[in-house]
């Protein structure tokens, strides 16, 4: 599909901020239109990478759960983590990836709290590696 969505958004953002915003009266209208232009620019970034970062994050969490499950003594949590590790992304639609991501994050929060309660430092470090990678991937660039 040419032009791609990200190109349309990026060029529309440039047109809005470069040609149209300066013609608006200073103040609320100009400020709001500029921010809409920035959101279009960020949306262009997100269109290109959105599916990839969600799929990568989901894969990272499942890999973590596969490693962690055997060392969890609590039977309920062990079962939850094992089941989450066995899930998979059946669709690359953002809504489907988000739904999987939400369920995996819920399990991750419980697993991290468990690791803290049991002073399992290596598991805590491993979880933070996943969270740091996720935070890095989701950063948005303004330039």
């Amino acid at each position: 599909m040419k032009p791609e969505v990200d190109q349309i958004l990026a060029l529309s953002s440039q047109a809005l901020m470069g040609a149209l915003v300066p013609q608006l009266p200073p103040g609320f209208a100009q400020g709001s239109a500029s921010l809409l232009g920035i959101m279009m620019m960020l949306s262009a970034q997100e269109y290109e990478r959105g599916a990839e970062i969600r799929a990568a994050e989901n894969a990272d969490m499942r890999a973590l759960f596969r490693e962690a499950a055997p060392r969890i003594a609590d039977a309920g949590l062990k079962s939850l983590v094992s089941k989450a590790a066995a899930t998979e992304d059946r669709s690359l639609r953002i809504s489907a990836l988000n739904a999987e991501n939400t369920e995996l994050r819920r399990v991750l929060i419980r697993l991290q709290a468990h690791a803290e309660e049991h002073a399992d430092r290596s598991l805590q470090r491993r979880i933070w590696d996943v969270l740091k990678a996720s935070a890095e991937r989701r950063l948005l660039r303004l330039a």
Binding site: N98, A135, R138
Partner: protein, 339 residues
């Protein structure tokens, strides 16, 4: 729409200021954050000793607010610190009844001829960076120094006891996250657990905490003078280190965290704050409050994203906050808490 608002405002102020001939002109909406609609206007009226024209600001509640904030608190904070002689606009009128302008609002003096920094501008203060920096941290120290009873704000919302400040604030913002998160937030949850496990020492005193003291929330002129500290809507009682931690947060650093708020070096900022406040900075306590600041940021951005996603307030600033600012603070906290 502004014509109707202008007429309504004229009728209200004519009665409020006992100036039947009062005329409102040049009413125009200006940027002012998502939690209030902000307008500037001119009011011409006879103040008893001849006709005057005043530049004024109207801050009206939006249909839905980013964070539920109390406009009475905001108005009273403006009153108290204006009287104290800090650079704060003079508040003129507070109206909680929705009859006059459909929603509660207040009116205050407009400080003209000034700029406000955008957090997206890498160097908003240019040659005045040091001069503004010294004032910025000194004014924050003076806010911390103010006696809450003497300035009439001892009844504001917040912690009453020095050992209760941290718990009060964590509970407040945890509830915001509980109420507004539309997807699980592992980093925010980990931060809340860390803050609870590692409480800071009791506050040195109970101060007025501005609540959003940062770059972008003050006006400065071309001579490098800070003329107005704005946006007191989250003012409350608490630990003065809370404001310091928020002002030092890297989100407000214009890309250079070694110069928080895009101003002077961190060590100089803290030294000036200590001198102005008469308080000492305990590095461990400050570390806790800086961590809290990023968690509070997350809570605000989560709430902003919720407002936008649920259609209650579709100001683009809420979408921006829910994307850019949320991702930024997740990164800051992940780096900090994984050490």
């Amino acid at each position: 729409m502004t014509d109707q608002l202008s007429t309504q405002l004229e009728e209200y102020l004519a009665k409020k200021l006992d100036a039947p001939q009062l005329r409102v002109s040049d009413l125009a909406r200006i940027p002012g954050g998502a939690s209030r609609e902000t307008y500037r206007f001119r009011a011409r009226y006879d103040a008893g000793n001849g006709e005057i024209e005043r530049a004024l600001i109207l801050r009206r509640d939006p249909p839905a607010s980013l964070i539920e904030t109390d406009r009475t608190t905001e108005f009273r904070a403006y009153q108290a610190f204006h009287r104290l002689g800090l650079p704060v606009p003079e508040p003129i009128a507070l109206e909680l009844d929705a009859t006059a302008l459909e929603r509660p609002f207040f009116v205050m003096e407009e400080i003209t001829g000034c700029d406000v920094a955008s957090i997206l501008n890498p160097d908003p203060y240019a040659a005045n960076r040091d001069k503004i920096g010294r004032q910025f941290w000194s004014v924050l120290g003076q806010i911390a120094k103010a006696d809450v009873k003497a300035i009439g704000l001892a009844d504001l919302e917040g912690a009453r006891e020095p050992n209760g400040t941290w718990h009060h604030e964590v509970a407040r913002w945890e509830k915001v996250i509980d109420d507004d998160e539309r997807e699980p937030q592992p980093i925010a949850r980990a931060a809340i657990r860390w803050l609870k496990r590692n409480p800071p020492p009791p506050a040195q005193k109970i101060s007025i905490v501005h609540g959003d003291y940062r770059t972008g929330n003050f006006l400065f002129n071309a001579a490098g003078e800070i003329r107005a500290i704005l946006d007191w809507e989250m003012a409350h009682l608490g630990d003065p280190l809370e404001d310091l931690g928020w002002a030092l947060d890297p989100l407000w650093a214009h890309g250079d965290p070694t110069h928080p708020a895009g101003l002077i070096a961190r060590a100089d900022a803290i030294r000036i704050w200590e001198a102005a406040s008469g308080l000492e900075v305990d590095e461990k306590a400050l570390y806790w409050w800086e961590t809290f600041a990023s968690l509070k940021g997350l809570a605000i951005w989560i709430s902003a994203a919720c407002e936008y996603a649920e259609g209650r307030n579709t100001d683009a600033v809420n979408a921006f906050s829910g994307w850019y600012c949320l991702a930024f603070h997740n990164k800051v906290l992940a780096e900090r808490l994984s050490q």
